[in-house]
């Protein structure tokens, strides 16, 4: 028996050894720098999903007022649990008609810290993730639809429209609610007009759609200039200018509850059609021949992306670069297949804007507008990506 066993084990071990050697050889391919070899070991496509979770906790305790990480975690979990218990007690009270008091956890920290976590940082952190993730998904989808990797989510004029809407809101009332609603409405309107132009001129060609977007975009840019021109230089003009540079400093919990549903809904819609975006990305005629109703698909994609972008822009102001650069980074990590690119763009975008927003609120005593930072970080980073030649669409 022992006689027989030995050769079997040997045979079994032989190829395993080879596989291990082959694996290491593939990792340390001749001439690759060490850091790239290490990077290749990490399954980037999966590890990336942990990034926003880590950054989420980091952003809660980090700031100009740095808190103890453990205590922050306790505040977050216990505080959330208490909030749920409170909600449950009041619900039970109204249902039963009696005063019901569920027990709640003891609060061992100062009320000011609770305020910092729940009223100041949490809404901001969630907003950064929603806006960053949403803009990136919309950008990736538009790049597929227009078969052009240089497209950003505002190609159809949504940002210019929203900017004008916000400027009008600032001029007329100054109420944040009015500004947001006006920004959202004009953002959607701009895209609707661009789509209308594309539709009447060129049936369903995406090229004409882009031209429609350019027309509408410059039209609304002119309108924005007009509102700036007539604005009060000491009061409303700076408000308009700051809004156009983008910021998350004024985001409240109410804002989050208002924009989270449309952003999530639009993103889920884009996530569901993610594989079909591949087909749109190889060309309209080929997609038709492969059985895709390109017209309907285009409408669905444009509506979903526009709702996401308009909702994001109306709480954050105009934030460039995210929707353009993040899908590129995603493509370098997981390739052009939209099945993976859409979710990866979402987590990368959320992480990217979270980091940028952390910098915006901590670097100096005054807030730095987000639009400036995303361009300052995004543009050089994009240049660096281009020099690395791993970008498949440059030949």
């Amino acid at each position: 028996m022992t006689h027989r066993k030995e050769p079997i084990i040997e045979i079994g071990q032989e190829p395993r050894k080879n596989v291990a050697i082959g694996f290491w050889r593939s990792v340390f391919r001749d001439g690759t720098p060490a850091h790239e070899a290490v990077l290749r070991l990490i399954p980037a496509g999966k590890a990336i999903y942990l990034l926003p979770i880590i950054l989420f906790f980091f952003s809660l305790f980090f700031g100009r007022y740095v808190m103890d990480p453990v205590e922050t975690f306790r505040i977050l979990t216990v505080g959330t649990a208490n909030a749920f218990l409170d909600g449950a007690s009041s619900l039970l009270s109204t249902v039963s008609g009696h005063q019901v008091l569920l027990p709640s956890f003891e609060q061992t920290w100062e009320a000011s810290k609770q305020t910092v976590v729940f009223r100041i940082r949490l809404p901001r952190v969630i907003a950064a993730m929603l806006v960053g993730g949403g803009l990136s998904i919309a950008g990736a989808s538009f790049q597929g639809l227009f078969k052009n990797p240089l497209v950003s989510p505002d190609i159809l004029g949504v940002s210019a429209g929203a900017g004008f809407g916000a400027a009008v809101g600032i001029l007329l009332s100054g109420n944040p609610m009015v500004i947001q609603i006006s920004a959202f409405f004009f953002g959607i309107l701009a895209v609707a007009v661009a789509y209308g132009i594309g539709h009447t001129v060129g049936k369903s060609s995406t090229l004409v759609l882009v031209l429609g977007g350019i027309i509408v975009g410059s039209l609304f840019s002119a309108f924005i200039s007009l509102t700036k021109y007539v604005a009060d230089p000491y009061d409303t003009l700076p408000a308009i200018v700051f809004w156009l540079m983008g910021s998350l400093s004024a985001v409240s919990n109410a804002d989050i509850t208002a924009v989270a549903p449309p952003i999530l809904l639009g993103s889920i819609c884009l996530f569901l059609i993610r594989w079909r975006i591949n087909l749109l990305a190889v060309g309209e005629e080929e997609a038709r021949a492969l059985g895709v109703d390109t017209k309907r698909m285009t409408i669905v994609l444009v509506i979903a992306s526009t709702i996401v972008t308009a909702s994001a822009v109306c709480i954050s102001g105009i934030i460039g670069w995210v929707g353009l650069v993040v899908p590129h980074i995603g493509r370098m990590l997981v390739g052009p297949d939209f099945r993976k690119l859409i979710p990866v763009s979402a987590v990368l975008g959320a992480s990217f804007l979270l980091v940028v927003d952390d910098i915006a609120r901590t670097l100096t005593a005054a807030e730095i507008p987000l639009g400036i930072l995303t361009a300052l970080i995004g543009a050089p980073f994009f240049a660096y990506l281009l020099t690395r030649k791993k970008v498949g669409w440059i030949s």
Partner: protein, 290 residues
């Protein structure tokens, strides 16, 4: 009959007809080659058969149903289409690309399943290009990407395969290999309609040939009957001889002293004393390019 085109006519602007009164039909396992000069409406006809463009008159029937009554994915379940060339923007791998051929069999919100991967792999194996699976289409040669596009069309599991000039970007070796592939697919029972600029290729594989000229079919039938000197002159505006070459074992079409090109024969011993050859088109005639 898998494909039936009856008196089809189409025009982009409603005035000039791209083609009219075109009638074709194709049976299982049959290959029809469509010949004709550039711009004569071959590609337009293909788009009409695929219902990407709508006919002004006449009908197209696939598997007995009119295409304008069929939904896009129903057509794609029956008809595979191989375009002239793919302009790759995003560097999809060949596997991702061929997987797209499964689209008509996959619901709108779904992604490819195990079964779809198996069918895609089968399409690779059928064409014999399995080693290309992981290669990016943007890095492929013309011949490779042509094969991948045929594989994508096969992944649709079509009963009719339409190829738009499948050999026009390929070198002479790949042209022959593509023709052999097409012939093999027809032997498996797929009906094939292909546009081509090489009348030779029609002799290699076709069961029937149709010549489109000025929007009308000027000839249609067996290759030997249709591809004649007269028909080719009418179709292409140059003199072309049709010869059986013993050594090659097939019939080929060769343009006769094309458009006054001096060529090498000007220096062959027989012509040397004649200096310039007396070509029928030599004296500044340009109608060879009309």
């Amino acid at each position: 009959m898998i494909l039936n085109v009856n008196n089809a006519s189409f025009s982009y602007d409603g005035i000039t007809k791209q083609f009219e009164d075109v009638s074709l039909s194709l049976r299982q396992g049959e290959i029809l080659s469509l010949l004709g000069r550039n711009g004569t409406g071959k590609s337009t006809l293909i788009k009409c058969i695929l219902n990407i463009l709508r006919l002004q008159g006449g009908t197209v029937e696939i598997g007995g149903r009119r295409v304008d009554d069929m939904r896009t994915e129903e057509i794609a379940q029956q008809v595979g289409y191989v375009p002239q060339a793919h302009r790759a923007v995003f560097p999809f791998t060949a596997l991702d690309f061929v997987l797209m051929g499964r689209a008509p069999h996959i619901a709108t919100f779904a992604v490819p399943k195990e079964e779809d991967y198996e069918k895609a792999e089968a399409a690779f194996a059928r064409i014999g290009i399995t080693p290309l699976r992981e290669k990016c289409i943007s890095e492929m040669s013309g011949g490779e990407s042509q094969m991948v596009m045929i594989a994508r069309a096969l992944a649709q599991e079509p009963s009719l395969l339409i190829l738009d000039e499948p050999t026009s970007h390929l070198d002479i070796g790949n042209q022959t290999k593509t023709m052999a592939t097409i012939d093999r697919l027809a032997a498996d029972g797929i009906a094939i309609l292909m546009c081509t600029h090489f009348p030779d290729h029609a002799f290699l594989v076709s069961h029937t040939v149709a010549i489109l000229e000025k929007g009308r079919l000027i000839a249609q039938g067996r290759a030997e009957d249709v591809i004649t000197k007269e028909n080719l002159r009418e179709a292409y505006g140059v003199d072309i001889c049709v010869h059986y070459i013993e050594e090659a074992g097939r019939t080929v079409c060769i343009p006769i002293s094309p458009c006054g090109c001096r060529g090498r024969e000007a220096t062959t011993p027989a012509n040397r004393h004649g200096a310039m050859i007396a070509s029928p088109l030599a004296e500044g005639e340009t109608n060879g390019f009309r």
